[in-house]
């Protein structure tokens, strides 16, 4: 059945329904004329046979479970962490994948989409679900602060995805506000004349 043999009022409905959905021309009564499996959206879709059942998810890529901060703090002191990372910061042995000699200016927006890792080379924080960026987890936050001038390292150096980098900035800001993370405060100069009591003048 080719498109010319289909009446005009069917064609308009096909066009309207075809954007990001299956092309399913129907009669006015609702009965489907024919079923085409051609899809116009970019992501591939599961076959209808699997739609009724649960989508199979790789457990190592699942990031729906929220790990509490206390667990993360314990993890950073554990033997498993020591074996994995040694004494270096967690981002040191991570390498970004890219074509050419210069990496793209920005890292990816996020490694986790819809509750699962959506990339083959996730960033240093996303790849290990027990590294939780929180203001209480000071040992982890310190790894992302420069030892030379106290600045937070950019994602170009650490390789974090942009979402995790933003979470890191927020966590560091909170930790500094609560005094959990200390830093060098700028010098405050006083003009004594403002504080000398009027009685002595």
């Amino acid at each position: 059945m080719n498109i010319r043999s289909v009446p005009i009022y069917f064609v308009s409905r096909i066009i309207r329904d075809s954007i990001n959905s299956r092309v399913v021309p129907t009669l006015d009564s609702g009965k489907e004329l024919f079923r085409r499996t051609l899809s116009l959206s970019s992501t591939t879709r599961q076959e209808s046979a699997e739609e009724g059942g649960e989508k199979k998810r790789d457990p190592t890529k699942d990031r729906t479970k929220v790990i509490p901060v206390e667990t993360s703090i314990k993890y950073l002191r554990s033997a498993a962490y020591k074996e994995t990372y040694g004494d270096d910061p967690v981002w040191v042995n991570y390498r970004r994948n890219y074509k050419g000699s210069y990496p793209p200016r920005h890292t990816r927006k996020t490694c986790v989409r819809q509750g699962a890792i959506a990339t083959g080379n996730p960033c240093p924080i996303c790849r290990d679900e027990y590294l939780v960026l929180d203001h209480a987890n000071v040992d982890l936050l310190k790894q992302f602060v420069s030892a030379h001038n106290g600045e937070v390292l950019s994602y170009n150096e650490t390789g974090l995805c942009r979402r995790k980098h933003q979470e890191l900035l927020v966590a560091i800001e909170r930790a500094k506000d609560r005094g959990l993370l200390t830093f060098d405060v700028p010098f405050r100069e006083y003009d004594y004349s403002e504080y000398i009591s009027k009685k002595t003048e």
């Binding site: 609560r178 005094g179 006083y190 403002e194 504080y195 009591s197």
Partner: protein, 337 residues
Amino acid sequence: MLCRGWASKFKNEMRPFAVLLKHMSENSTTKGGRDPGEYFFSDKVQAIMRHLSRIDMDKIFRVKREGQKIETPEYKFMTTEQLDKLMSEMKQKAEQKLQMPPVVNAQEDVRTVLSVEPKLKGYDSSKYVFTDITYGISDRDRVIVVRDTDGTLRKADREERHRMNQLYFERPGRSYSKPRMFEDEYLQDLLKRKEYEFILDRACAQFDPDDPDFVNVRTATYDHINQAKEFDSLRSTRHFGPLAFYLAWNNSIDDLLIDILNGSRLDEAVSLVELNHVLHPNLKSAKVNKSDGDIEYVKAYAELDSKKRNDVELALQNYAQRQFHSIELEAEESQGR
């Protein structure tokens, strides 16, 4: 003049601040109605405080990580005269870095009404804050007034002044809202970790010396240091002088005195006792003359006015013995040669 509307409910929504009442114990700078500011700025007291602080160049000029641009170190070849000149310049710079934050009484807010205009009531649902942003005026002298919703024109209170000053004239290290580290829970954690210099530096950057919050934080920190006897953490910083002043003001110099004597610094011990006498001229030991001898001077204080007489006298004895031993050793060495 710049006008800024401000919702009155903003103040109600501001985070409640735990008042450190338990630290406002008998150790308070407002005790007895006397003003420590009358004594703090005198040359004699300043000189004593500087002497007690000691100047350790390595600590004063330690590497500070303040987010500055990383530069390669610079090496220079100098003649002796150039080096001497540079050293004297550095000593002056060290003196500047040791400028001591004033110890003054906490100033409570005074409500000063400039005019009452009931006809303006209901003009707007929010207050208006007028700030004079003329360049060259200090934050404390700046004119900041508030027109309330009922038509009263009054001078702004401390919090309003802080907010406006920080908004229009941002100061590095000072934040718009009070950092949560000055709340009781987090402050106690910092004190336990002995981050005294950090607490005091940040308090200096955030508050003015006569702010009740500043006085509370300082009192808590100094009391903790005195109890833990961690005086060394503040030596060669700008906070040691005020620490000695605070302890002398509250008649609790004994722990510091013992610490100094154990370090065999009799000149500093004498200075500390002198400071105590300057701040409390009515003490019995204040009449003792310094020219009688240093050890006798400190001993007189220990006998007459010290609360920990035995400990201070023991420390003095140990110091005397150490001196005696070192003199004996020197004599033996010179004989042996």
